[in-house]
């Protein structure tokens, strides 16, 4: 492989933060002799991508295969992308500093919709044709995975294949298959045929995309180009997760990266059943790892990396049936070494706060809660199974225990939301603040702060709210205005997101294959790093929409009848369409659905469909 380091090194003296590009971090694996080479890309900068779980897990598993090497690549910061273009330096991997185009396969993780233009930036900077139909046998196989792969269509023309669901086994199967066929001299097309037969893999070029009317009549948006291809792609699930070791080799970055700490994955899945939450719907069922497994992985990981913080990562760590025992053992194991144990998000009740208190030590910064909606009515609609009493118990416990700030997450524009729900957010925040002031000693009252952060509802595929439209940006701003004017106390601050990027997210999240042209045109007009406020170019997206003839406002706001077939109907995450429809109906009636790890099975379809079971290590704390 070509070593680009001498050329890169010459440019680094003037780069913004050169340590992003230098490799050589503690813990990285380099297999120069492997004959098959895979490069895993996070389509944003090193700082944002290095801690990404998919990058870590997939590099570790692929590097575990004899004769295969996995390297990492990230998108350089905008200024350095420009420098590289000017200098004709193509995008490189970190470990070998080799051009991406020289790898056998490149994997790109799609963690959010706003990464779409960065995918094109990655491929273009790598001198790899960004449309799959322009690639030749000499180009690497380009595969995608991650949350956005559950609706692959807006990305379809850019990828050779998608891996749906948990990738640790499926990606290895794809690469092994590709290596075997490449060695036999098979063409790209022949390899893709074989990959399409691997469970969990979707090869869009083997399916024609149908017009909307035809799709509704036919019962599918895609039509296989020949017989024998799967018509529904079922997500992959790593069935051995709970039993597998929680220990993973870990790279320790030099750059101050986000989530720069040891990450130990304690469980997968969350069945609380929030009706807007894609992660909860597609990650089922719940699988817990044992306390022993987690404690030994943490001890080993901390010793090997030298980190002073460990995060017990998952969608709902404080729901782990053995969480108290786990935290007590970890506290003992880490005592006196200045090591922090962090829980990314805790459940909204007194128990959650008690668990957070177990590891907070004396330093109590802020505590984060996500009531999501301001009234009980709307919380029931979205199936956020918390009552006002739960919320107050959590807040009381937090302020008694010594916390002085709390951050509350809400969503604006949820289906059925009215002005009363918005005023409900203000009222809830005010009552939380009043209780907190009553609890803390008089001298500390001035320190009490409540921060309200609002995100605009984005309908997500494979959730019960997938049929619901987003509210208009102006309406979103009006509701934010109403919320701000309803809040009386100055100790309560309100933050919100610019609705224009949420609009793009909504369109791409539910779009069909036609959206790819919009992404391409926006990128050609300079859109990239759309998730960075300072880089977002509204005009590029607006002009692109006119050029390709889509109306993003209409697409984002469109609500469908639950009988309507959506553009990802050929992708299954295990939850059945019937379950999603039933849940949508329950939402309309404000009826709640229980969490199957605390109560009876709610028949979402995942367990019988995938032949798996919920795996908990004991009885969960209700």
């Amino acid at each position: 492989m070509t070593d680009l380091w001498p050329r890169l090194a010459a440019l680094l003296r003037n780069a913004e933060r050169p340590s992003r590009y230098i490799n050589h971090e503690w813990g990285c694996t380099y297999k120069p002799d492997a004959s098959y080479r895979f490069c895993m890309v996070y389509p944003d900068t090193y700082e944002l991508g290095q801690a990404n779980q998919a990058v870590r897990i997939l590099c570790n598993t692929v590097n575990g295969i004899e004769g295969m090497a996995a390297e990492r690549a990230f998108l350089p910061a905008p200024e350095f992308c420009d420098t590289m273009r000017t200098e004709g330096l193509p995008l490189f991997s970190l470990e070998s500093c080799a051009p991406l185009a020289e790898f056998d396969a490149v994997g790109i993780t799609l963690s959010h919709e706003l990464a779409a233009t960065n995918v094109l930036e990655v491929l273009d900077l790598a001198n790899i044709p960004y449309r799959e139909d322009k690639r030749s046998d000499a180009d690497p196989l380009i595969i995608a995975g991650g949350p956005c792969a559950f609706n692959p269509e807006p990305f379809a023309p850019f990828f050779d294949a998608f891996v749906i669901g948990e990738g640790e086994e499926a990606v290895c199967e794809v690469l092994l298959c590709h290596r075997r066929l490449k060695a036999k001299g098979l063409t790209r097309g022949e390899a893709l045929q074989a990959i399409a037969a691997i469970p969990g893999c979707y090869v869009p070029s083997l399916y024609r995309w149908l017009p909307e009317d035809a799709a509704q009549v036919r019962g599918s948006w895609i039509e296989p180009v020949h017989e024998g291809l799967p018509v529904v792609v079922h997500k992959r699930l790593f069935a051995g997760f709970a039993q597998s070791s929680a220990y993973e080799p870990c790279i320790v970055p030099f750059v101050e990266a986000v989530h720069d700490r040891l990450n130990v994955e304690v469980l997968r899945g969350c069945t609380r059943g929030c009706r807007f939450c894609q992660a909860g719907m597609v990650g089922r069922p719940v699988r817990e790892r044992s306390v022993e497994n987690i404690v030994s992985a943490t001890t080993r990981g901390l010793a090997e990396t030298g980190y002073d913080e460990v995060s017990l990562a998952s969608l709902s760590t404080t729901d782990h049936s053995q969480i108290a025992a786990m935290l007590e053992q970890l506290n003992r194991a880490c005592a006196g070494r200045g090591i922090r144990i962090s829980i990314p998000s805790q459940r909204l009740d007194a128990f959650g706060v008690t668990m957070a208190g177990l590891v907070a030590g004396q330093k109590k910064g802020g505590l984060t809660f996500a009531p999501e909606a301001g009234t009980q009515r709307l919380r029931d609609v979205i199936n956020k199974n918390v009552t006002e009493d739960d919320i107050f118990d959590a807040v009381d416990a937090a302020f008694y225990a010594g916390w002085r700030h709390c951050k509350l997450y809400f969503m604006i524009g949820l289906p059925t939301e009215t002005d009363e729900d918005i005023e409900g957010i203000a009222s809830l925040a005010q009552r939380i603040y009043d209780r907190a002031r009553d609890i803390v000693p008089a001298a500390q009252r001035g320190a009490v702060k409540v921060n309200v952060a609002c995100a605009l509802f984005v309908p997500k595929p494979l959730t019960p709210f997938q049929w619901d439209g987003q509210i208009e940006p102006e309406e979103a701003l009006r509701r934010v205005g109403l919320l701000r004017s309803s809040v009386k106390s100055r100790a309560i601050s309100i933050n919100w997101h610019d609705p224009s990027t949420s609009l793009i997210e909504a369109v791409l999240s539910r779009g069909g294959r036609e959206c790819a042209a919009w992404v391409e045109e926006a990128w050609k007009r300079g859109a990239r790093f759309d998730a960075w406020t300072e880089c977002f170019k509204q005009e590029a997206w607006d002009e692109a929409a006119r050029a390709v003839g889509i109306d993003p406002l209409i697409a984002a706001q469109r609500s469908f009848d639950p009988a309507y077939l959506l553009p990802w109907s050929h992708i299954s995450a295990g939850v059945t369409p019937e379950f999603l429809r039933r849940e949508r109906q329950c939402a309309a009636g404000g009826e709640k659905t229980v969490d199957c790890t605390f109560d009876a099975c709610s028949e979402c379809g995942v367990c019988p469909g995938l032949g798996v079971k919920t795996q908990v290590q004991g009885v969960r704390h209700a």
Binding site: A9, S19, N23, H24, F254, E256, G306, D308, G336, G338
Partner: protein, 219 residues
């Protein structure tokens, strides 16, 4: 609480290769992690957010390497210096390699101020036609404010050229210091057009702090 006896270990290391591109903050974090990996009995500060008791030497600019860099680590129990060094070497990146460890007194000046005079070596893409003149002043702009430094206030003696290498020494003053890279860039900025038509302009290839001197050593 009675004062607990701590053992102050001064560790010298090289910062070289591509890791010369680390910033001071990145270097500090990398060294702390090395100490943790080495399993040394480091002391932890008391208070709200307990952290390792470690203090770093004078900062090097991004892109500048060092042969005699150092940090002070407070240990809660005594470890023989060669044993401490062995443990650190085993958990250090090749381009951040410790080479000497010794204990210092509890009253000894901190690593960051112990060595006010530093020697540097710059390597260039080729030897200059004639030694580059040293500018009289260097102007710094920070947050749109300008500050003029008199080079003579910082420079010790005259810079010495040897082919494509330049060596010089700079004092750090209580009022501030002149960065080694700033001086070299200012010298480069003074070079005229290349002698031969189409000839290459002189470029900095590497810059290294080769030694740090304590006042005592200079007397």
């Amino acid at each position: 609480m009675p004062e607990v006896r701590l053992f102050r270990l001064r560790v010298f290391f090289c910062k070289g290769g591509r890791l010369a591109l680390l910033s001071h903050l990145e270097l500090a974090r990398a060294l702390e992690r090395t100490v943790r990996r080495a399993g040394l009995p480091y002391a932890v500060s008391q208070g709200f957010s307990p952290h390792m008791r470690i203090a770093f030497g004078a900062a090097l600019p991004v892109g500048v390497g060092g042969l005699q860099e150092c940090f002070d680590l407070s240990l809660a129990s005594y470890v023989a210096p060669d044993k401490a060094l062995e443990a650190l070497v085993a958990t250090s990146a090749e381009d951040l390699m410790p080479h000497t460890c010794n204990y210092i007194g509890s009253k000894a000046p901190a690593a960051s101020v112990a060595y006010p005079l530093c020697a540097y070596e710059a390597r260039f893409s080729r030897a200059p036609e004639a030694p580059l003149p040293v500018p009289e002043t260097v102007t710094l702009t920070r947050k749109s404010k300008e500050k003029v430094l008199r080079v003579a206030d910082y420079l010790e003696g005259e810079p010495v050229w040897d082919g494509d290498r330049l060596t010089f020494a700079l004092w750090s003053r209580p009022t501030g210091s002149l960065r080694c890279d700033t001086l070299v860039e200012a010298m480069l900025a003074q070079q005229g057009a290349p002698a031969a038509p189409g000839g290459e302009t002189l470029q900095l290839v590497s810059l290294t702090r080769t030694a740090q001197h304590a006042l005592l050593n200079l007397l």
